[in-house]
């Protein structure tokens, strides 16, 4: 079974600084995708960044980047130059390549950006 673990229930960061959110996952499969989703108070899940397991290069999207360590089954999200609008719940998610109907989510990390 595929599981996703986020060990940091809450984190905070000062505006303009950098913060890293942790995620580990467990699978015996080799082909999968990993995602970070943001859920602001509006409740709508918004895709932040994705990573293909077969790619060694870490994905980046503007101020967001990941540190993907396949052997360690670790997938952390780094947010640079944090902004007040980054305040939200962040969920790490996993999906198998051949079964992309059932996305597994972690329990989330609540990030607060302080002015």
């Amino acid at each position: 079974a595929q599981t996703v673990t986020q060990s940091q229930p809450e984190m905070s960061v000062q505006e303009a600084e950098t913060v890293t959110l942790s995620c580990t996952y467990d699978t015996s499969e080799n082909n999968y995708y990993l995602f970070w989703y943001k859920q602001p108070p509006s409740r709508q899940m918004i895709l932040v960044i994705r990573q293909e397991a077969y790619k060694q290069q870490n994905a980046t999207e503007n101020r967001f980047s990941v540190n993907f360590q396949k052997a360690a089954k670790s997938f952390s999200l780094k947010i640079s130059d944090s902004q007040l609008g980054d305040t939200a719940m962040y969920f790490c998610a996993f999906i198998l390549t051949y079964n992309n109907n059932d996305m597994r989510f972690g329990a989330g990390t609540r990030l607060t950006v302080k002015p």
């Binding site: 709508q44 293909e52 989510f105 989330g108």
Partner: protein
């Protein structure tokens, strides 16, 4: 272009009652997935509908059922409500041939169900 829309936004039911939640997918999408998000938890996959049929189901009892209409909209029905069914129910839409490397699941803002 409207995204995924869900109704109602909030509702309160009592134990034993039945509830129906509705979802309209993003324009052009033909597949709808439902997720349950309990307080303080990540979303859990309930089931997915495509071509008006349930294509895949997560670990949820038969009290949870659904339907997809010819216009691709979908309903989630929960019978014999339990206190533990209190949660945010999220609908997500996608194209049938969803490429995880480029595609995206679009989520609605959810329906918050409270069971008393």
């Amino acid at each position: 272009d409207a995204g995924v829309t869900q109704s109602p936004t909030h509702l309160i039911k009592t134990r034993g009652q039945q509830v129906t939640l509705r979802c309209s997918p993003k324009s052009g999408h033909d597949t709808v997935s439902w997720y349950q998000q309990a307080l303080g938890q990540g979303p859990q996959f309930i089931f997915q509908y495509y071509e008006e049929e349930e294509r895949q189901r997560g670990n949820f009892p038969d009290r949870f059922s659904g339907h997809q209409f010819p216009n691709y909209s979908s309903e989630l029905n929960v019978n014999a409500l339990l206190l533990g069914d209190s949660a945010l129910y999220l609908c997500a839409s996608s194209l049938t041939i969803w490429a995880p490397e480029t595609g995206e699941l679009f989520f609605g803002e959810g329906s918050r169900l409270t069971v008393l």
